[in-house]
């Protein structure tokens, strides 16, 4: 170690350029489909064109005639596999319950029914289009309202209770001075990371190496080992760069198994890249929610009762239910609160976690409802929220480890110019557009899991290794920053290796938990190495009993100015400001990007994203990037994100909470609230498209 340590400025907390930046801007960052491999064979999947029924026959004659085809796998000639039991604590979570290609049964449109493998991608693609499948369709359950769809009341979502009540909601709703009773709808949404899911599978004897863009390399390793009945050390998942995930690359998918199966059978490496349409059919989605919110309040705005009931579409092929009521018992102070969730099991592609699952649609409903209440009571929407601020988690009956929601609202109000907000709808008209301001709360849990990290020294260079993930979040950089400070060296001496299941374990890059989980392990390993003067050190860290003594959440406030050309129904977000309370910020530059990216995600949800199914065939009609509209550059105006920094040392020694998902929460409500402020029109069904404003 150098003696200049005491003069050194910490690099944690500084906005350094991403350490993987050069690789990304030169096209040298290697994603799964870029991996060079000798003698690779190309796989293309064929998927079902009915939502329910069975395969009557498969004719591969024409497909087999394409020059270069090696083999066509179907349920008729493929080995049998079983989906393992899902166990999050054991780090094994299949994305769906269905293992396809085991029998002729079809349970959703786009179900994998064949895999064509060929010498070239063109041959595989051409042959796949020639596979002729005859189906016997059955009655597909496609609507939440279909009386034949099974309905259940799921108990919990990763430890969060989904059917809860405190106090006596019905009694206090009935007696409340003012009540609100409204329904809010969010459509099916699709993640659409820019990088399609892909698998490159290579066998070496009985050892399997898989390149796959993954938000959870350990989870995928456990899954593949279980399905193929292999010892863990014989399965290696490699994922150094992930072209976006947003939740769609966290759990384990059947396409990985199909690619590995083909590779084993053909004794050749197999590369399978999903088509964009297959992403819509196979890699999860945020399911449609229909939320019924009833709120009772006093005339001064104090909440006395809230009932948040959600109906969610889910899939018979999956297990995931969107927990849209989740934040309602926590966000505000209210003595009587009930949340309930009912799931309708449909023949749709299996849903999965998508950026702030639960919080995203839940804040749309709750924060719209609170705004409607503010309008009804003629109380400023920020004041109403401040009046109902919770000083403890009233559901868990625990103090918050750290909560600065009011500060976010107040600071944002000043920075945004909230005082210039139109007092009444339709008051401010400028050059064909009505102007409106809206505000909403943002929130996301502050989760932390166990993690391990290793540091190795070679002269003056240090290699940090963790099986964690950078999906655009900046993990490469913040690990380097934390390590550099813990070791007391310049960041140029640090190399980071992640995205590899052979490295010390870390949790899924989901639930915004990576920073809070991994940084303590990295810091501990580096401090250990420094203390021992050794060339290698490893450390494992985990949350302790503080988990049972505090409630950990991040908070924020979303401010939006919209300009509505009401004649043509056009809404644009002219300005947006997010103010966030996420504890200590390790890298302000990458964090700001995460917040802004989350806000763009929310703008898409509010104004344009709409997953539509054909009511008869069950096909995702919006199954491509022209018909499923995500924001383009021209959709984004002046948006900014700032933080209030209060390190949360109760969560971990760095005081840092995650930042990846909170940016999306509250945006859609802020926009809907702003549209109301501009036009007097309250839109409760997303997206807010021109036809809804005419």
């Amino acid at each position: 170690m150098t003696a200049a340590v005491t003069e050194r400025t910490p690099v944690v907390g500084t906005p350094i350029d991403r350490v993987d930046g050069r690789l990304k801007v030169t096209g040298q960052a290697q994603y799964t489909a870029d991996t060079p491999v000798e003698h690779v064979a190309y796989a293309v999947m064929v998927t079902s064109t009915i939502a329910r029924g069975k395969i009557v026959s498969i004719d591969t004659t024409a497909a087999g005639e394409v020059h270069g085809v090696l083999k066509i796998f179907t349920h008729e000639n493929s080995p049998r596999f079983t989906q393992p039991e899902s166990d999050f604590m054991k780090a094994i979570v299949p994305a769906q319950t269905l293992m396809p290609m085991q029998n002729p049964e079809i349970v959703h449109y786009g179900q994998q029914v064949a895999v064509v493998v060929a010498e070239t991608y063109e041959a595989a693609r051409a042959a796949a289009a020639r596979v002729r499948i005859a189906y016997e369709p059955g009655h597909a359950l496609l609507s939440i309202d279909d009386p034949k769809a099974q309905r259940t009341k799921p108990e919990q979502f990763f430890g969060s209770a989904l059917q809860t009540e405190r106090g006596d909601v019905d009694k206090h709703l009935a007696a409340a001075a003012v009540t609100l009773d409204e329904r809010y709808t969010t459509p099916t949404q699709f993640h659409n990371p820019m990088e399609p899911h892909a698998t490159l599978a290579q066998w070496n004897g009985d050892k399997l190496t898989i390149h796959e863009p993954s938000q959870w390399v350990k989870g995928l390793q456990n899954y593949v080992a279980a399905v193929f009945n292999l010892p863990l050390e014989d399965v290696h998942i490699i994922s150094p760069f992930v072209g976006g995930g947003f939740g769609s690359k966290g759990f384990s998918f059947p396409h990985t198994i199909l690619a590995a199966m083909a590779a084993r059978d053909l004794k050749r490496p197999v590369k399978l890249v999903l088509t964009r349409t297959q992403l819509f059919e196979q890699t999860g989605n945020r399911p449609r929610t229909e939320q019924h919110l009833r709120i009772g309040a006093q005339k001064d705005g104090k909440l006395v009762a809230m009932d948040h009931a959600s109906t969610i579409g889910t899939s018979v092929a999956g297990w995931f239910v969107e927990p849209s009521g989740r934040i309602t018992p926590m966000l505000y102070s209210c003595p009587n609160v009930r949340i309930s969730h009912e799931a309708a099991w449909l023949n749709t592609p299996a849903p999965g976690p998508m950026r702030a699952p639960g919080e995203t649609p839940g804040t749309f409903a709750l924060e719209s409802a609170i705004d409607e209440l503010a309008v009804k009571l003629d109380i400023d929407p920020i004041e109403l929220r401040v009046r109902n601020d919770a000083t403890q988690d009233e559901e868990e009956k625990l103090p918050f480890s750290s909560r600065h929601l009011v500060e976010c609202l107040r600071l944002g109000a000043v920075r945004f110019g909230w005082k210039d907000r139109p007092r009444k709808p339709r008051e401010y008209h400028e050059y064909r557009e009505y102007v409106g301001y809206g505000v909403a709360c943002a929130t996301f849990p502050g989760l932390r899991s166990p993690a391990s990290a290793r540091v190795r020294r070679d002269k003056d260079r240090f290699l940090i290794e963790v099986a964690t993930h950078d999906i655009g979040t900046g993990m490469y950089s913040i690990i380097a920053q934390v390590a550099a400070d813990a070791l007391g060296v310049g960041i140029e001496h640090i190399e980071v290796r992640i995205g590899d299941s052979a490295l010390p374990p870390a949790p899924v890059a989901g639930g915004s938990m990576s920073t809070a989980s991994v940084m303590p392990a990295v810091q501990a390993a580096c401090l250990k190495l420094r203390e021992n003067g050794a060339n290698e050190a490893e450390a494992s860290t985990a949350p302790g009993d503080e988990q049972g003594r505090y409630s950990f959440h991040s908070f924020g406030a979303q401010f939006v100015e919209v300009r509505v050309d009401e004649t043509l129904g056009r809404v644009r977000v002219a300005r947006a400001l997010g103010v966030f309370d996420c504890g200590k910020i390790i890298n302000p530059k990458t964090t700001r990007s995460q917040f802004l990216g989350g806000m763009v995600f929310g703008i898409g949800m509010a104004l344009m994203e709409d997953g539509v199914f054909d009511p008869r065939s069950g096909r995702v009609m919006t199954d491509n990037l022209a018909d499923y509209r995500i924001p383009v550059n021209a959709d984004i105006g002046e948006i900014e994100a700032i933080t209030v920094e209060h390190p949360d040392f109760l969560l971990n020694p760095l005081g840092a909470r995650g930042v990846g998902e909170i940016g999306t929460t509250g945006v859609a409500a802020a926009i809907a609230n702003a549209v109301y402020n501009a036009t007097g029109k309250r839109i409760r069904e997303l997206p807010i498209t021109p036809d809804k404003l005419l």
């Binding site: 043509l568 104004l607 065939s617 009609m621 199954d623 509209r629 383009v632 959709d635 036809d691």
Partner: protein, 326 residues
């Protein structure tokens, strides 16, 4: 996309001979529509005749017209000084379409021949009368928010997706066509055919024929013109509704008008009745009357009914914009 042969003639005559003599052959220029549809599995010609080496990419400007070779790229038409000055609705229509990359690839000839974005047409597993006569149409009971309200039939109501073609139809453009047996000209408006009972037939182009140029005669109400496109996001998106509008004034009164609609017709929709109603009028109420006339025969359906009102408002807005010099 299935395998195919690629022929690359350098001479128009040779290209015409090849297309006439080769079974199951199609032309390819920019490829933005052809390659797309081949990847969808909607078309699979066994031979593609690449016409990008033919000398059909010049623009001729004179006092009577502007004549644009069929191979001129969308972006080049959009940025041509005479187009910007004399036919601004056309420049803006091109710039409103697709993305910069696609505009650099796509040709004006291909743009005019562009096929519908209807998701049932683009899906070989769906029933579509345009792909196979008599198969039925899955859009009627399905998802048809983007579909047409004008020029529809019981067999098909898919929207024509082009922006430029809307402006070209408003400008009385003429299509120059060649084949091995000669050449002919036809107005673009007459070139398009309504789906009727034969939605597979979209235009007057016969087998063996090639569009070689689009000619726009100079006339009235084209210098003061604009193109308004309403869509669900700010760019890189097909129209919900679009309007190409041009006006010529004599003092306060409208002397000549051009109006054509996109996003609402099975073909680019020239609204001549609306134009006639505007001549001799002044003031905004005339715009609303014209819009009513333009949409008089619209047939709304469950998911696209909003287009009737939106189209009327877009017409009024476009005329206001022209009046105000926007």
């Amino acid at each position: 996309m299935q395998a195919f042969d690629l022929l690359q003639p350098t001479d128009t005559g040779e290209a015409l001979k090849l297309i006439a003599q080769t079974q199951d052959a199609a032309f390819i220029a920019g490829g933005t529509n052809v390659v797309d549809l081949m990847k969808c599995g909607v078309t699979s010609p066994s031979t593609l005749v690449d016409i990008t080496r033919l000398p059909l990419d010049s623009i001729e400007v004179n006092s009577k017209h502007i004549r644009i070779g069929a191979l001129v790229r969308n972006s080049d038409v959009a940025q041509h000084p005479d187009v910007i000055e004399s036919f601004p609705m056309l420049s803006r229509a091109f710039l409103a379409g697709a993305s910069p990359q696609l505009r650099n690839m796509a040709t004006v000839g291909g743009n005019v021949l562009q096929r519908t974005r209807c998701p049932y047409f683009r899906d070989p597993a769906a029933a579509c009368n345009k792909r196979h006569a008599g198969d039925g149409c899955d859009a009627f009971e399905g998802y048809h928010r983007m579909h047409a309200i004008l020029g529809t039939s019981d067999a098909c109501f898919a929207t024509h997706p082009s922006d430029a073609a809307v402006a070209l139809v408003a400008l009385d453009a003429i299509v120059d066509i060649q084949s091995s047996s000669g050449s002919r000209r036809i107005s673009l408006d007459e070139f398009y055919t309504l789906p009727g009972e034969t939605p597979a037939i979209e235009n007057d182009l016969k087998p063996g024929e090639l569009i070689v140029a689009i000619e726009i005669p100079r006339g009235r109400a084209h210098r003061h013109s604009t193109y308004l496109k309403v869509r669900d996001r700010a760019s890189y998106e097909f129209a919900l509704v679009s309007v190409a509008a041009g006006l010529e004034f004599d003092g306060d009164r409208i002397d000549a008008a051009r109006i054509a609609l996109g996003g609402v017709g099975t073909i680019p929709w020239r609204a001549r009745g609306a134009e006639e109603a505007l001549v001799g009028t002044s003031g905004d109420s005339a715009y609303e009357k014209a819009a009513e006339i333009a949409l008089k025969h619209a047939i709304p359906r469950r998911d696209n009914a909003f287009k009737v009102e939106l189209a009327k408002r877009a017409i009024v807005r476009a005329l206001e914009m022209v009046r105000q010099g926007q």
